[in-house]
């Protein structure tokens, strides 16, 4: 009877495609929008991810997320170094400074100052130049996207594309000269500002004068030291906030979840996709069943039990569900692939597949239930009506 169920479904091409389109749309919305959401949220802590080496981040107790800069006194670095179990503790500057562009306009950039001696916390991938080139006079490393887009030079002729800045070019950072010694690949940040790496001492000279300038102390524990235990020890000893890398990411992520409208906006899109998908698929599937109600009546009259009819409808629902889900996920993947080198945030973890799969299953069950109810209640005597 499964074969008959499938032939009944696929034989009505218009309805069959209509149901699949509804489910594809629902699946697309339920994967594409959350994938953008996840991508966007991952950007909130991309800076933490890019600074790969430290296990613990120490900061002012009032800091709520990675971009919430509340500098500490430089002496805090030595207090952290004094805590038992610390292998190394290094300063890291992170600030938002203005760069004066060639056309006279200003661009806000994230400036990261690395420990002069070790250059720990540098960009994950160098595309041009080397990290040690930061030791050259006035040397800075600029991220690739910033170099191509926001920090690029105006086009020579009107209408042409802007010229990316390159190694050897100079920038003006807070009235001070900076020479580009390298181009790096970094993960885009939430605010999509260009990222400029330099040494800690040079960053101090670029930054406006303030009594406190130390943003973070990055810490590595001794071998065998549990980062969670060590961070608590640092907190107890210094009164500063100390988070493991994962804790700091979660802190940042939670801040954006709680204090921005992003989750609500994306949640509404996903809900809308679910409702519209359920409505289209449910209505089309139901009308498909109603068109075939006489055929179901014939099968019933011939001795097909309700259990078999139920299985037939579930099989039909499962088939359109699997195809619609596959197409939706495929389209989302294609979308993500085609947008991989653009500014669009997109991340498609396996959990999203489960989430959207559960959503599509719910829609199919809803669509099938509407039809099953009708078919189970159907009187086989319908077949004798002309």
């Amino acid at each position: 009877m499964n074969y008959i169920a499938l032939k009944m479904l696929m034989g009505n091409t218009g309805k069959y495609l209509g149901i699949i389109m509804g489910l594809t749309f629902a699946s697309l919305i339920m994967t594409q929008q959350p994938a953008i959401f996840v991508g966007l949220m991952a950007r909130t802590f991309s800076f933490i991810s890019d600074v790969g080496q430290p296990e613990i981040w120490v900061m002012d107790p009032k800091v709520q997320f990675v971009d919430d800069i509340k500098p500490m006194q430089d002496t805090e670095l030595y207090r952290v170094r004094g805590v038992a179990g610390v292998e190394w503790a290094l300063p890291l500057y992170k600030g938002m400074l203005k760069v004066r562009l060639a056309d006279g306009t200003f661009q806000n950039c994230i400036v990261v100052g690395l420990d002069d001696a070790t250059l720990m916390g540098g960009p994950p991938t160098m595309l041009q130049g080397n990290l040690v080139d930061l030791r050259q006079s006035d040397g800075v490393i600029v991220d690739e996207d910033g170099a191509k887009e926001k920090l690029s030079k105006p086009p020579v002729n009107p209408g042409d594309k802007p010229t990316p800045i390159k190694v050897g070019d100079t920038l003006e950072l807070n009235d001070r000269r900076a020479v580009i010694v390298g181009i790096a690949k970094v993960t885009r940040t939430f605010q999509a500002q260009p990222v400029i790496y330099t040494t800690y001492s040079r960053a101090m000279s670029y930054a406006p004068r303030e009594r406190k300038l130390l943003t973070f102390v990055i810490v590595k524990g001794k071998v065998g030291e549990d980062p969670a235990v060590l961070s608590k020890r640092i907190h107890d000893a210094t009164g500063l906030s100390a988070y493991t890398t994962d804790e700091f990411k979660t802190l940042t992520y939670n801040y954006f979840m709680k204090n921005t409208g992003i989750p609500i906006n994306f949640g509404m899109s996903v809900m809308l996709g679910f409702i519209v998908g359920a409505a289209i698929a449910g209505q089309t599937f139901y009308s498909f069943t109603m068109e075939n109600i006489r055929q179901f009546g014939v099968l019933k009259a011939m001795g097909t039990g309700n259990g078999t009819l139920l299985r037939m409808i579930l099989l039909q629902a499962a088939l359109v569900g699997i195809i619609g889900y596959g197409l939706g996920v495929g389209l989302t993947s294609l979308f993500g692939y085609s947008m991989r080198n653009t500014i669009l945030a997109f991340k498609f973890p396996w959990q999203l597949l489960l989430f959207s799969g559960a959503g599509i299953t719910l829609i199919c069950m809803f669509a099938a239930l509407l039809s099953i109810r009708k078919v189970i209640k159907l009187e086989a005597a319908i077949v004798f009506r002309s």
């Binding site: 009877m1 074969y3 008959i4 032939k7 009944m8 696929m10 034989g11 009505n12 006489r294 055929q295 009546g297 014939v298 099968l299 009259a301 011939m302 001795g303 097909t304 039990g305 309700n306 009187e379 086989a380 005597a381 077949v383 004798f384 002309s386």
Partner: protein, 235 residues
């Protein structure tokens, strides 16, 4: 007539339909025996209860009172799944509107009763092709119903009704949607292929042109079988 050759035995059969404010009597104390090896026609005006009677006989509707035995089995005493199985094994249907599944080809349509009875699809399709051969459509097994004329579709329906070799064939107005010549041809096929000494056939009709094919005619009016007359078969 002995008990052995009675296919359908209805006693004091009563069936009512509730239309809200009042009860409508569709069958009033029907007593009817249908012998095997014969073609019985149920005739009468519209609304006289013919279709209700065959629905009860086929176990599709439950009677309010009285009994209806099919080959000695009172279907009302069976549970739903037993009744479905009994119907699947023992009854073949031919409907006025053919009721072929439009997306299945002819062989697949005819194989449905076999598949319901648990025959493997490959074997069922092969048997269905043989059944179609018997009704003269052996060369159209892969066609869809929409590619056939009304008469041809009814021949497919006959093949479907016979393919699993049931003991009772129930036909509801099998010729009323067909012209005289085609209707006559359909009846000839039915008579030739369906009538068998171990099988009974009930045809509901008010198409007087086919009365000549009946072995006996039961006339109904207002839910009552008025009389049963034996007919002389000229075919």
């Amino acid at each position: 007539m002995t008990n052995d050759n009675i296919a359908v035995r209805c006693k004091n059969l009563v069936k009512t339909f509730d239309t809200g404010e009042q009860k409508v009597y569709a069958l009033r104390n029907i007593d009817l025996n249908v012998p095997t090896g014969e073609l019985m026609m149920l005739v009468g005006p519209s609304g006289c209860g013919k279709t209700t009677l065959i629905s009860v006989i086929a176990g599709i509707l439950d009677q309010d009172s009285g009994s209806c035995e099919l080959f000695g089995q009172d279907m009302q005493k069976l549970n739903t799944s037993q009744r479905n199985r009994f119907r699947a094994q023992n009854i073949g249907f031919v409907f006025q509107a053919y009721n072929l599944l439009p997306t299945l080809n002819l062989a697949e349509n005819v194989s449905i009763p076999l598949i319901i009875n648990g025959v493997a699809r490959k074997q069922a399709t092969k048997t269905a092709a043989d059944a179609l051969e018997q009704v003269g459509l052996g060369d159209r097994v892969r066609n869809l119903p929409s590619q056939l004329s009304g008469g041809q579709q009814q021949r497919v329906a006959i093949a479907r009704a016979l393919v699993h070799n049931p003991r009772l064939i129930v036909c509801d107005e099998p010729t009323s949607a067909l012209d005289h010549e085609t209707g006559h041809h359909i009846m000839e096929i039915l008579k030739k292929t369906a009538v068998h000494k171990d099988r009974a056939m009930i045809i509901v009709t008010h198409d007087a042109r086919i009365f000549e094919f009946a072995d006996c005619i039961a006339s109904m009016d207002d839910g009552i079988v008025q009389n049963v007359t034996q007919s002389v078969d000229t075919h």
